[in-house]
Symmetry: C4
Subunit: 276 residues, 4 copies
């Protein structure tokens, strides 16, 4: 009842606009979302390509024109969002609201405070727009499924990361003592950086142990990192398995035999055949 009343309250054109901009069920809404997504991707592509030197020389003017075009488009979109929603502040202070604002402010600021370097910063921020695309898939059950599993395992994962950070701090400072500045381990932070590069099996090779003992410790870190990757994987997998199970199974108890564990599509007890 209540939600229905809310939908009636605003004027008709507002409702229409709200449906188009905020919802994806109706064809217009879907079309709007896809068009917006296209704009976001192209605007990012412009920023990215503009950073390539010889492309900037060739199409620099075109790029800046396109940038301004998209800035205006996104500004109009932002204003429309504000006028067609019943509680604008809710949108403004929502995650997407802030991102949307961050995506348009920079260009305007760039007029007042000129300067190549700062401009680039603004451009980088604009890339946050990409996150908008998640709104498109936001309604997919897959998306919800994943986020549920990840949120459940968040606490376990953070313990794991805490453990990894402790390990790399200790091993980093040990390797720093063993190898020393003459082999590129100029400080403990630098050595911790190396330990992270090693335990995550990235292995740039810009810094590598030279002494036998250093190589022995390095081998230990590698095998450790190679092994403990199993922990986060195990955590997430277990959580996902649980999420799947709970999705496929309700815990209705059979009224006659009282047994549980019936599938979500079961309308009769599979043990005694009584009606659920």
């Amino acid at each position: 009842m209540k939600s229905q009343h809310e939908n009636k309250a605003p004027r008709n054109w507002q409702m229409k606009l709200h449906e188009i901009i905020y919802e994806s069920e109706k064809p217009e809404g879907k079309a709007f979302d896809i068009a917006l997504l296209a704009c976001i991707l192209i605007s990012i592509l412009v920023v990215v390509l503009d950073s390539v030197d010889h492309l900037h020389q060739l199409y620099g003017r075109l790029f800046s024109v396109m940038e301004w075009f998209f800035t205006i488009v996104f500004t109009i979109e932002y204003i429309l969002r504000l006028i067609c929603i019943r509680k604008p502040y809710k949108y403004i202070f929502s995650g997407f609201g802030i991102i949307d604002l961050l995506a348009i402010i920079p260009s305007y600021l760039s007029i007042v405070f000129a300067g190549a370097q700062s401009l680039l910063v603004f451009r980088a921020l604009r890339l946050l727009r990409v996150f908008r695309i998640f709104r498109l898939v936001h309604f997919l059950s897959e998306m919800r499924f994943l986020s549920v599993a990840l949120l459940n395992s968040l606490r376990k994962i953070s313990i794991f990361i805490l453990f990894v950070l402790t390990i790399v701090t200790i091993l980093g400072s040990i390797i720093y003592l063993v190898e020393g500045p003459e082999h590129g381990f100029t400080s403990i932070p630098q050595s911790i950086y190396w330990a992270i590069v090693t335990i995550t099996t990235v292995g740039y090779g810009d810094v590598a142990p030279a002494t036998p003992l250093g190589k022995f410790i390095a081998s230990f870190i590698m095998l450790l990192g190679y092994g403990i990757i199993a922990v986060p994987t195990g955590i997430v997998t277990t959580e996902m398995a649980l999420a799947v199970k709970s999705k496929r199974q309700d815990n209705r108890a059979c009224p006659s035999c009282g047994k549980e564990g019936h599938e979500h599509d079961a309308s009769f007890c599979k043990f005694c055949g009584a009606k659920l």
Copy 2:
């Protein structure tokens, strides 16, 4: 009934040929497939070895002769496939049909349009033949099992990849601002490339951060990549577990309502409550 009728329709020698070429149940069919596989592998080996400079000097002539031999063999095979099947266009426009054609055209084209570079392209295409080997294992339940699990997790995986691409775009452009061209991060695309190299824990080291802040961001990307590998793994593992379960679930049909998909421990139909 119908399928039986179809098998009767074509002439005998066509049926025989069809059995040999398209089926693997009969010994002749198996022999044909293995022989074909051998030809494919050898022809690829020829292309690969021919690309090694000193081997090309020594056996260049032999290689080109063998290439032409295999081209002719595969051409004959292609023609036989066409004449022994009842709906040739179905094969021509099937995945394997196109690949088979792509595997023989190049050599013939290479007569008309000469030129080393182009020739090499043709050779590369010919490598697609390897995919034919999948036809051999296509009937293994394992193969079907794997593809089912992967197809089911496709949607989830694509969300994950979308997420990774967003992350590397943002982090790539941030690192570009932090490190700048003087440390090898010459442009945002280049920096995105570096971010991918880092988040996938490949870590070539051709480009590596030099500033403390850059190294800090790099460490963050590494730990992120080291952690989120758990997500696709979890997805695929869960799907496989489900696939296994459904394989072990009996497909007894309910005698009264005829529905299937009852659990192995079910003694009553969960849909209509009838005794199984």
Copy 3:
């Protein structure tokens, strides 16, 4: 009864102190733990930053003052721990007790035995303090859950590591014979180090095969390492799944035989057949 008696035995102020220092339930206990954690992290940060050359030049004096401050703080904490516990030796010889001692001794020793290098060693040891933070999360069920799963899979994992070590020893010495000292494989230990770098997919690139045969063997090691990572992951995941299951299993005791560990869907004791 007995435990209650033990809690009564010590004097009141000791009990109070014990609650604050050893327990985290009461607000004071929580506050103490968080304050201690902050001290540990800051003291480590001091050690880490002090190792950066130009920071040492600038704030060397400040750092050493802070170090001494924390050393004294941790000494007082250590003494308090001893006087407020009923069986001090139990704490002294416990894992945390030893670490806590190791965290304060070095500074005092550094007065007697001066010398930069040795000092650094002491600092590195002090980093072990970080492990204290685990006491904070020690009571989290997540922590217990993880440790249970890892302990259960310890035996399987160790077999796996034994296998990996065997593989790298054999492949390392084979690659040593194939590549030889002229390509950087100066000795078998060095080659084993390279094999570990490769099988764990770290791949520094400081040593890399140059001969075709060497590259072939390297490719084999890579694919092997890429594949067998599945083993520890599978082990840990399975153990975690079991741990989750046993956690979700109710611990109803049978009214007649008193045994526990019945499944959640059990309505009769599986040991004596009595109604649960």
Copy 4:
């Protein structure tokens, strides 16, 4: 009956020896195995250390003496194995029998055919002795558990490896066409080697793409390799879960209610309470 008879057949001292050498149940047997393991590890250590140049200069004589000592020890062991077993040829042609022989032959051959290089080969072979250690753990249920899970997933894994090899062959030759010899991709085999280095996320960096298109393809390979690692992991994990399940559960059906899925320690039906 029969096995008992077999145990009676040989002479007493043979039976005793057999118990010591081939079995690990009795204390003597355990002691023998541990002593043998120690010998193996030390003999390998000698080979490894002897390959380090300056250690060879210092202790070369000592090492060669130790080598001969262990060679004689292992020879005696080999002879004892032959005389105390009832069907010697069975041992000779068993996996361990061949390895044991390979572990001693080289030293003797090295007398006849001298030469540093060849000697090294013999030493490398001797490293195979390490595999003996698996005999120690062979009886652990963990070992059996792991091997069962891996054997079951062997077929699936091999399909996966076949797939990976196909991918790297195609992508390798494509990158060869894109980058060409001037950027280190001197031939298709070399490019395939690079593709393996990349898809397994090892990333030495000895060869790295230089052109934008090459970097794009490289990024694709990295993300592919980062993603498909999930496949073998999922396979092994699923198999292990099944192995665990079958270990923890028998499929006895309840005589009164006919339901299955009772735990291995259940002596009464958990559904109806009837005796199993």
